[in-house]
């Protein structure tokens, strides 16, 4: 039975919980802004002016970071639950974390180019 100490696993576990808790607040806020008041908030001019404010920019960047980590780390956990995924454990971890970084960087690029 293999018993190599993994640093990735406990760190990923704790961050999965922390990002989950943060997301409960941020996603609710995000949803409140876009859907709860009126759909006017979805107009291009409205979106552009929101994103231009530093507070919203920071909020969106934080949301993007926690959501993409939570999503791809969750995918990693699901894949590692299978024998096939566990056989290629290193590749699964590397690819999902790469996907997380790509999603985060692409989102940041969008955020700063609008």
């Amino acid at each position: 039975m293999e018993s190599t100490k993994s640093v990735m696993e406990p760190v990923a576990w704790i961050f999965q919980m922390l990002t989950g808790l943060v997301m409960i607040l941020l996603v609710t806020l995000h949803f409140y802004v876009t859907h709860m008041t009126s759909h006017e908030a979805l107009k291009y001019a409205e979106v552009a002016s929101r994103v231009a404010q530093p507070e919203f920019k920071a909020l969106y960047a934080a949301l993007l970071l926690v959501v993409s980590f939570h999503a791809f780390n969750g995918l990693r956990a699901i894949l590692l639950d299978t024998t096939a995924g566990m056989r290629k454990k290193g590749a699964v971890s590397a690819l999902t974390m790469l996907a997380f970084l790509l999603a985060f960087i692409y989102g940041l690029y969008l955020l700063f180019s609008i």
């Binding site: 919980m17 989950g20 997301m23 409960i24 996603v27 107009k43 959501v67 999503a71 969750g74 692409y106």
Partner: protein, 124 residues
């Protein structure tokens, strides 16, 4: 056994349902995140024309049912996830059955409320 082992409910308790729903909604939300990021690429058109034409589809009446299902996924994943985090910290393990019931009710109430708001926003 294979992945079908995640979908066996015969003789199982509600906890198995919660687990499977958590997993399914997680995958749905991952796919939605990718779609959402792709969708937001339309913001790169600085005139706003591409974005406006896309947003017109998503806020339309026909699209509402997808929106409501997506909100169900999000609300369930969030509420059920919070319950799991409580237990992972070792909190309220003895009360897991009533907690499952309470949190499911919370998820449904929040979902119905959000659906109602979205329904009225699309001119219901």
């Amino acid at each position: 056994m294979g992945v079908s082992g995640w979908f066996r409910f015969k003789g199982r308790s509600l906890f198995s349902w919660a687990f499977t729903f958590q997993r399914l909604t997680g995958v749905v939300l991952l796919i939605y995140l990718l779609a959402h990021l792709t969708y937001l690429s339309t913001l790169l058109d600085k005139t706003g024309a591409t974005y406006e034409s896309m947003i017109a589809i998503t806020v339309s009446r026909q699209f509402l049912v997808f929106d409501i299902l997506l909100v169900l996924c999000g609300v369930f994943h969030g509420v059920n996830g919070f319950r799991i985090i409580l237990h992972e910290f070792g909190i309220a393990y003895e009360y897991r059955k009533p907690l499952l019931a309470i949190f499911t009710v919370i998820a449904v109430v929040v979902w119905l409320y959000a659906s109602y708001i979205m329904y009225s926003l699309t001119g219901g």
